[in-house]
């Protein structure tokens, strides 16, 4: 299983670091990409990842109201709300996209979130985006 995580550098990336310094354990199949703010996440990044057969995408940002850039994550929230529905309509299980609010102090929550998304993905029956769709239909 392969999971991409987009973490904003101020809250959730720091949260991930904290999980590390507190030696919390979580599964290894998560790959973190550091971005300045969750509002930097272009929906196409996520579509791209999923269409390349990634099993899940985890987006993590500061808690609403605590955004380092004061309002960034409010926009993220709106964009992802719509994206989630679009993906669902296109036939991708919306559980494959998870958004968590994780502050720099929430190392524990980061580890939990990783476990959470993985357990969600394990429950999912339907296959991810086919590796070479040409052959599939």
């Amino acid at each position: 299983m392969e999971i991409v995580a987009f973490c904003c550098q101020w809250c959730s990336y720091a949260g991930a670091d904290l999980a590390g310094t507190s030696r919390l354990k979580y599964p290894a199949n998560i790959r973190i990409i550091k971005i300045p703010c969750s509002s930097r996440i272009n929906p196409t990044f996520i579509m791209r990842a999923l269409s390349k057969g990634v099993d899940g995408v985890m987006v993590a940002g500061c808690h609403p109201g605590d955004c380092h850039y004061s309002t960034g994550n409010y926009f993220t929230r709106r964009r992802l709300m719509v994206l989630k529905r679009l993906l669902e309509f296109s036939g991708i299980n919306p559980e494959r996209l998870q958004l968590y609010w994780i502050s720099a102090a929430e190392g524990g929550k980061f580890a939990e979130s990783v476990k959470d998304i993985i357990s969600k993905l394990e429950k999912i029956q339907d296959k991810p985006f086919p590796k070479n769709p040409e052959s599939s239909p």
């Binding site: 290894a28 790959r31 990409i33 971005i35 300045p36 930097r40 272009n42 929906p43």
Partner: protein, 652 residues
């Protein structure tokens, strides 16, 4: 395409225990652009950095990846090293294989696999990095201090002494802040006025300090080094260039009021001067109460003023000022009366707060220094002090400790005993917090020498009976309920941010915490910086603190301003958004999502398009998503870079 180097750090056992370093090195060296991949025990160490430097020289690397700890830890270290190796610092990337790999995973196989991926991602990112150069902007070496309390004055004086212009804005008509209302100060018991007046005088006469009393900041535009402020100078209805402070007007003014300075305890006039040592030594008219301003007749002051200084036509003025740095020293207020109803505060005259006691005790106060109770002027023989009145009270929304109450209560109790030796003092406290030089000693001297009674517990209720104040309290140490018939009750009321701070914070684009105190950039390492560059923070606007601390913070902010002003220009982070002019459609979707109003309009080939003000831009990248054509991109986190990382991650 560039020649990349990869350096993998063992971090002693921290990484090497769970990650197979050798394999990481091998796997990554197979990457076409990687011309050398090597490892070392501690890359951040002196020899480690030396090693990197040598290899960069020898192999002629154009950029490198450090696979080690979190960038939060050592990015700066290795980027500075890069520039020492004549590589643009932004051509150095870190792969976080410690915090986000070796420390969180146990299975060596998995961890190693992940480490390799992370390094590959970093390599791809570096390959798409552009060398970035911080832009520099001229700066205006002039500071504005908001709030002329003791903290603000200190900051202003330090900056002015260092040779820079200072603008000192104060909303009250006089400077000195709340300290001017105090009688004596702990722990030395020296007279507040006596130690303050030298400072106020110095501020007033300092050639480089422009004083703006009775003024408020309305608007602030711009960025560090180049702020532009609009300040409202409220009308005093007195021409201060003419007024000599002779006070004839005060004497003859028919309108009596209870000015805020005396906490409603002492009568003043509608035209008045806050207190005898007020700086500036000028009178002002209270708009709300003045008979002439409200009914159009009277005008006695105008008739009598020998200098003809009275000017009823005077209007508020808006002045524009250019400054390079801002210090916020907005100070505090006391919790609202209605919040302390169980103590009868606001209902019974003889239940007063700490500030009112200061006025009563002050020689310039309502009873010229004799301690009497407001209701009937009797000298209180039994006096109850209640600490934590509103503080540490979740239910009243003030869960924090107001910090100075333990000290000033002890001080006030002691001063009371000095003046009423046969009086009895009771102090209800929950904990004594006397963490300061000489504080603990002070408290115990008070308790021991002055024979006052400290009761450990809270008071539930205060009410009046037979001209006495019945106090129902608890002494948890004896487990006994205490009932006291007191003559006067003094509440150590909770400290709250002075009103208007929220609005000011919005104007300055700085944040406040849930209690309305101004938020510092980092609780430990940046305690006096605000989130916005070039804005600093001193005094009780930040959190309750005593005079010494406020002064220290004032000076600290001043030193921040020095280091800013010591340069001739400010450098801005180069990781900012940039517009591709030809591809911008001019729909300006980016404009509305920008939290910093950094998007400006620009005419280009007959169309209006977006332009990023790189000084305002903080590099969040929200605009890059709002922009459908991808005409705006974020340096350091370009679409290319992120997509490249993504691709690398998908390599099987």
């Amino acid at each position: 395409m560039r020649n990349i180097g990869v350096f993998v750090c063992w971090c002693g056992l921290n990484i090497s225990r769970t990650v197979d370093i050798k394999r990481v090195v091998e796997e990554t060296s197979s990457h076409p652009q990687v011309i050398c991949s090597t490892d070392y025990k501690y890359l951040c160490s002196e020899p480690g950095q030396k090693l990197i430097k040598e290899i960069v020289k020898e192999k002629g690397l154009e950029g490198y990846v450090i696979a080690a700890c979190s960038p939060g830890m050592h990015e700066t270290t290795f980027r500075e090293l890069a520039s020492r190796c004549e590589i643009n610092p932004y051509l150095c990337e870190m792969a976080n294989i410690r915090e986000q790999c070796s420390w969180v995973h146990e299975d060596r196989e998995e961890a190693t696999g992940k480490a390799i991926k992370l390094v590959n991602m970093a390599i791809e990112k570096v390959l798409h990095n552009e060398p970035l150069y911080p832009e520099s902007f001229p700066l205006n070496k002039r500071a504005m201090v908001i709030g002329a309390g003791v903290a603000g004055m200190q900051a202003a004086l330090d900056i002015a002494d260092a040779g820079y212009e200072v603008l000192l804005v104060e909303k009250r008509p006089f400077i000195g802040g709340h300290m001017t209302q105090l009688s004596e100060t702990f722990p030395t018991l020296d007279c507040a006025q006596c130690i303050l007046t030298p400072k106020t005088a110095e501020v007033a006469r300092h050639p480089r300090i422009t004083l703006m009393p009775y003024s408020e900041v309305e608007e602030v535009k711009g960025y560090v080094g180049n702020f532009e402020a609009v300040i409202r100078r409220k009308a005093t209805f007195v021409d201060w260039n003419k007024c000599t402070g002779c006070a004839i007007c005060i004497e003859k003014c028919p309108k009596k009021i209870y000015p805020e300075f005396e906490c409603g305890l002492k009568e003043g006039k509608s035209i008045d001067m806050a207190f005898p040592q007020a700086v500036p030594y000028k009178v002002f008219i209270n708009k709300e109460s003045c008979i002439f301003l409200n009914q159009g007749k009277c005008g006695v002051c105008a008739k009598l003023c020998p200098e003809e200084a009275i000017d009823f036509q005077q209007q508020d003025q808006l002045v524009k000022e250019k400054i390079g740095a801002i210090i916020v020293a907005t100070g505090y207020d006391l919790i609202d009366k209605s919040e302390l109803a169980e103590f009868g505060y606001g209902k019974y005259k003889d239940v007063i707060d700490g500030m009112q006691f200061e006025r009563i005790n002050s020689s310039s106060g309502p009873f010229s220094g004799v301690i009497r109770r407001p209701s009937d002027g009797k000298i209180p023989k039994e006096i109850v002090f209640i600490q934590c009145a509103g503080s540490r009270d979740r239910e009243k929304g003030k869960p924090y400790c107001s910090k100075i109450c333990c000290m000033y209560t002890a001080k006030q109790a002691r001063l009371y005993k000095h003046k009423v030796p046969d009086g009895q003092v009771y102090v209800f406290y929950m904990d004594i917090r006397a963490g300061g030089k000489g504080y603990e000693e002070f408290i115990y001297r008070s308790v021991e020498e002055s024979g006052m009674l400290y009761l450990r517990g809270q008071v539930s209720r205060v009410f009046e009976e037979d001209g006495k104040l019945i106090v129902w309290g608890m002494d948890t140490l004896s487990g006994k309920k205490i009932e006291i018939n007191a003559d006067m009750v003094v509440l150590a009321s909770a400290i709250v941010p002075s009103n208007g701070v929220k609005e000011l914070a919005n104007i300055l684009k700085i944040t406040t915490d849930e209690h309305g105190f101004i938020q510092e950039a980092h609780p430990k390492l940046k305690p006096i910086e605000c989130m916005t560059r070039g804005v600093y923070l001193a005094g009780c606007g930040h959190a309750p603190k005593d005079i010494a601390e406020s002064v220290a913070q004032g000076s600290a902010t001043a030193s921040k301003v020095f280091s800013l002003f010591s340069r001739n220009s400010v450098l801005a982070e180069p990781t900012v958004s940039i517009v591709n002019k030809d591809e911008c459609s001019g729909c300006l979707s980016c404009e509305t999502v920008c939290p910093y109003q950094a998007i400006e309009k620009e005419n280009y080939r007959g169309k209006v398009i977006a332009k990023v003000n790189s000084a305002l831009c903080q590099g969040c990248g929200s605009c890059t998503v709002a922009c459908r054509s991808g005409a705006i991109d974020l340096r350091g986190y370009t679409n290319q870079q992120i997509m490249a990382e993504l691709e690398a991650l998908l390599w099987k």
